[in-house]
Symmetry: C2
Subunit: 690 residues, 2 copies
């Protein structure tokens, strides 16, 4: 809110009693404004929350006469978004529209979209828009077509259906993003993700105003791009699943139409098992038998940075591939190279000495600088994971910060990068494959409390949620990305002060449901897995169990990286479960409330859940069993025991049962089928409380 800041500057400069009064009045207005905003966010389910929003008096009723006008003829992105808008609005509300397409001439249209410039997705593009929903018209204004399509998504989130009608809530919005880089990285190397998966996720990204799709295309487990220059890559450097160049163009076009940049990543010199399987002569260890990796982990195969052939290869490959990606940023990975194979090669050691490279960091920087020159000729800016930030690395590189406190650092490398003069993007704290709660990710601010100059602050471009795919297949990927990424998208777009978790969580429930409109499968595919577990019998008993079960977190599901291989089954109970397990959230809340202030109502609610779990086990026992269900039996049985004990304890036998309950809870903690029951703490507290 720049106006207010300006006012306070004036006030503090010439402070007198009169002006103090003015200040008080202004603070009053501000506070009132703040309060009304909070109220608005209780009513409207917008994510990300807009920069400025006011309630307008009346809503706009959607009926069959609804029309759209776009002020320009050359408006492919807006026509695309507006046409889809009509389908989505009609499908959501059931209203039959007479006009299924936007027009350029109808000046009395219900929704009038005005923008000034056709643009291409590019870092720093103007994405701002204003939106006015009044009783008799809707106006959407923007500088660029991309701003216009951001506004269209906001408008769709304002569309509700009640008993009498469908309507857009009356508002006046002036919106613009806080950060210009709001990304989602998808790893398609560990598990290949077909074009359809990417497209539907691009749709969802656009729905929450994200603008960078970081495409992690290569890793030890697969090189996923067709190369005509190096055809052995698609023949030998994957399990046969890769994108043709035409498919890549298709995805990039699709993203571009949604105002989303595509930043490709070719991870070098480490994470290179797949490349070296096809071209072993580029490897650092002579005579090593390279093969596609099928486990998870950090592996040794590394390109040889002392071999000119390596640079010929990368130059030719990037020259072939770079034109597929119009964006000016090009990610070269550069992470997790421990240099073991370098140390085991005498020639490389000799090379280091000769070139005065003191350690492997220096050698990698030598490599990175050569890469940067190759990319510069292709008009690309080099971006890499934070390991590339060595003392000799030029500040022209963009640093992608993935390490922070979890990795033993004081703070994320993002701040260090900004202070050293690098542009930087944050992913530390946004690793959604770690299966942590939405609350956790929502609480991470890219800048936080770091003391930075304005110049340093400007170096921080934004952030990226990252979904690494060791344990993620096309069947489950949507449920691992959504809805949490919508909360992260709000963190990147909305003001730093928008931090009320409970309020966001309420809005998230609605937006999560609306993602189904775009084909996101995070809700629907749960039952697909449960049906597979029961072999097409009723799934309700498993639904009950999964509503308090979460997959093991922070990679403990696949400790060591060898329990699961890339072709292991990912149709297990853990794959049907998700973080932020629904019943657990409610149960934990009720238990906390009950302990703070026990009432018959809270008691009744608690007992309701114990009965639900105990009944669930009865249903479970009625299923025709199979080997997969049998593996779940110990877990469900323990839950049943705990539940029945608590039902008895709450009836009045609490003292006598305390020890028995403690023992039963201990059983319930035992790891079964890679999930954890996330009500344990509440159960323990409740047992102590009774």
């Amino acid at each position: 809110m720049p106006q207010l800041r300006l006012l306070s500057v004036i006030i503090f400069k010439k402070q007198t009693i009169l002006k103090r009064i003015i200040l008080i009045i202004l603070v009053g207005i501000f506070t009132q404004h703040s309060i009304s905003q909070t109220k608005l966010s209780e009513k409207l389910n917008l994510i990300p929350w807009p920069k400025e929003i006011k309630k307008a008096t009346d809503n706009f009723i959607l009926n069959s006469d609804f029309t759209i006008q776009i002020n320009q003829k050359d408006a492919k992105k807006v026509v695309n978004a507006a046409t889809k808008f009509l389908r989505r609005a009609s499908n959501r509300t059931g209203v039959f529209l007479k006009n299924g397409f936007p027009s350029t001439t109808n000046k009395n249209a219900s929704l009038r979209i005005n923008f000034k410039q056709v643009s291409h997705p590019k870092l720093g593009i103007d994405e701002s828009y204003t939106l006015e929903v009044k009783r008799d018209h809707i106006k959407l204004n923007a500088t660029t077509d991309i701003g216009a399509i951001r506004g269209i998504e906001t408008l769709l989130q304002l569309l509700k259906t009640d008993h009498n009608s469908s309507y857009f809530s009356g508002v006046i919005i002036s919106d613009a993003p806080r950060f210009q880089w709001r990304g989602l990285m998808i790893d398609v190397a560990r598990h290949f993700q077909p074009v359809a998966v990417l497209k539907r996720n691009l749709d969802a990204m656009a729905a929450v105003k994200m603008n960078v799709f970081h495409w992690h295309l290569t890793d030890d487990q697969g090189f996923r791009v067709e190369s005509k220059v190096y055809p052995r890559l698609q023949e030998f450097a994957s399990d046969g699943l890769y994108y043709t160049q035409n498919q890549i163009k298709d995805v990039v076009n699709y993203a571009s139409r949604l105002g989303i940049r595509v930043v490709p990543e070719f991870d070098v010199p480490g994470h290179a098992s797949a490349i070296l399987t096809a071209y072993p002569e580029l490897g650092s260890k002579e005579g090593y038998q390279y093969s596609i990796e099928t486990n998870a982990g950090v592996f040794d195969p590394t390109l040889d940075p002392t071999n000119n052939k390596t640079y010929d290869f990368l130059k030719n490959l990037f020259t072939e591939i770079a034109p597929l990606f119009p964006d000016e940023y090009f990610h070269i990975g550069g992470d997790e190279n421990e240099g073991k194979h370098w140390d085991q090669n005498k020639k490389i050691s000799a090379f280091k000495k000769k070139h005065n490279l003191k350690n492997n960091h220096d050698l990698q920087t030598y490599f990175n600088i050569k890469l940067e020159k190759i990319l510069l000729k292709l008009n690309k800016k080099l971006m890499g994971w934070d390991e590339i930030m060595t003392p000799t690395m030029p500040t022209t590189a963009v640093i992608h910060s993935w390490r922070g406190k979890n990795e033993g650092l004081k703070e994320s490398t993002l701040i260090e990068a900004a202070k050293k003069g690098y542009q930087s993007v944050l992913s530390n704290g946004y690793y959604i494959d770690r299966m942590l709660s939405v609350k956790h990710h929502y609480s991470v601010d890219p800048i936080g409390d770091a003391k930075l100059t304005n110049k340093e602050r400007a170096m921080i471009l934004g952030g990226e949620a990252t979904i690494w795919s060791e344990l993620v297949t096309p069947l489950t990927i949507d449920s691992r990305i959504w809805p949490r990424t919508a909360a992260i998208a709000e963190r990147y777009w909305s003001k730093k002060t928008v931090t009320d978790f409970d309020n966001m969580y309420k809005r998230l429930q609605v937006v999560s449901f609306q993602l189904e409109e775009l084909g996101i499968t995070h809700i629907r595919n749960k039952n697909v897995i449960l049906r597979n577990l029961t072999q097409n019998q009723h799934v309700s008993s498993l639904t009950t169990l999964s509503a308090i079960s979460e997959p093991l977190k922070i990679y403990s599901r696949n400790a060591g990286g060898t329990e699961y291989q890339m072709y292991s089954p990912f149709t297990l109970f853990a794959d049907a479960c998700n973080v932020d397990a629904e019943d657990a959230i409610y149960f934990n809340k009720i238990v906390a409330t009950h302990i703070a202030n026990p009432t018959p109502k809270t008691k009744k609610k608690i007992v309701y859940y114990f009965h639900k779990w105990s009944k669930g086990f009865v249903q479970f026992n009625k299923l025709k069993s199979n080997t997969k269900l049998e593996k779940l039996r110990p877990l469900y049985s323990s839950l049943n025991t705990v539940s029945n004990l608590f039902i008895n304890a709450i009836k009045g036998n609490s003292k006598l049962l305390k020890t028995e309950i403690t023992a039963a809870i201990k059983e319930l903690k035992l790891p079964v089928e890679d999930v954890e029951i996330v009500i344990i703490t509440s159960l323990e507290k409740l047992n102590n409380f009774l």
Copy 2:
């Protein structure tokens, strides 16, 4: 069973008492064989049912050591299918496999696949295979790689999981198709279907051994192919949704790898509104304002067959497009041209006189013959809907029979075509968009009782299920195709004598569920629509209602073609409902059983349903209402009334309530939201019976 036919010929030629005895013995063997087959089909859920199948003594247990060997290195189709086989088997059973990929060298592999020739999908290709599942090995032999992948699908249908293990049922199978043309036509003109929809349906087709994807690419509502020669087609002849040539290649490659031919259809000279919107100069009516059609129906815009420019256009277009489709058949539509615009054009009338063309049929034949010459130069055989079968049409054309008794003919045009010497394919009886029961479609045999010579019989290539997409979107298309098309696939593949509906229906339930493995959304998307109706509240009350509701049939949902336009909402209650409504099938069966032989058990089951519906209405009333739910209220309310009356009547007040029930049933018959309650007849019978 050719051997048996041979034997009976011998027997009937030289019949003596001794031989009569032999006959009796043989009949005995045959009957026994028949019975054991029937028993096997009770146990094994194969669709289509194989030509010859015997039970082997032991099953093959699937464990983590499972491996596959393929006898040839050049075996892309088989490697693809075998790799997917491993994923599907692992995902279905939860067994972690140590070897995730097939090998060419491992001669002791669990599954050994041998084939002789790499082939390309082509009419008449050898698709036979033999499969032997024994205790310690599985052998799959085939002449071609396509035969091998057909066998892999059979093997997957033999894989079950029980209490102790996962196993392939022991069998000895020798299989081959009855018809060589087993197709599914998808209309992508009325509603565009993205590549992902096509690919998942191709996977499903392969799973039930279908081998022709007929791609209806153009119609009044859209021309869906990119043309570089005629770019106005993609600019003006659709709503912006079309396939790029690269996407077409991608789909054709994908199909080819599954052993599926792709036959494109470019519908001319009628159904041409879209083409003429882009190129009005090719139209038959001067000065006519052509525009993309958004309604359903038969429309007048037609190419001018007397204009040389028309042939230049088609020649250039087909020359550009034909190479995208390697199959030798090319479908030119040719249906439903009523010639109205021809009659309204004096030049066309003059042309007819000059060339001695007596009527519009003759004129269309003139057009078709010119087209056939164009296609011949492109090495394509012309195929068209049965209207092209005029007296002067050469028998080199392939006739696609869509008309029959429903269209006022004595029999389907298929038989007529075969008798006249045309090769022919049947779709009459397989119009799955008419929303008729699976029982209906399963009962249609392409040849039936028609008396044909062997030569005539050989002209009948097979059949095609057709999904016209006026009321079908990507969200619902799978549920409109599957599972019914699996039953049709059996009709095309299995012997004519495989007609036991109840047995097929039992097998279909399992195969339908397995289609989820391939990404088919027919089950999961139902709840997506129901959640949209409730706006993310519980859907169980709507599930209950939808289990006895079916969408209106035989195009009565969109009588006149104008209630729904191409951009109307298809997220309504009718879209969540499907034919063969599950509860209705069971309820109707129980009522019939009860009327034939009333027992306390049948009575109890009947009452169970009335309570279910009555409780459903209670739940429905608890939902926060919206305009879409309100539209369903009258229907649910009537169902509730009927249910409560029956509950009372069955308690003993039947006589008194008969009239009231009759009135309530009448209410329940009233059309609401384009569905019909398909238990009405049973309710009426029950009311009379009580």
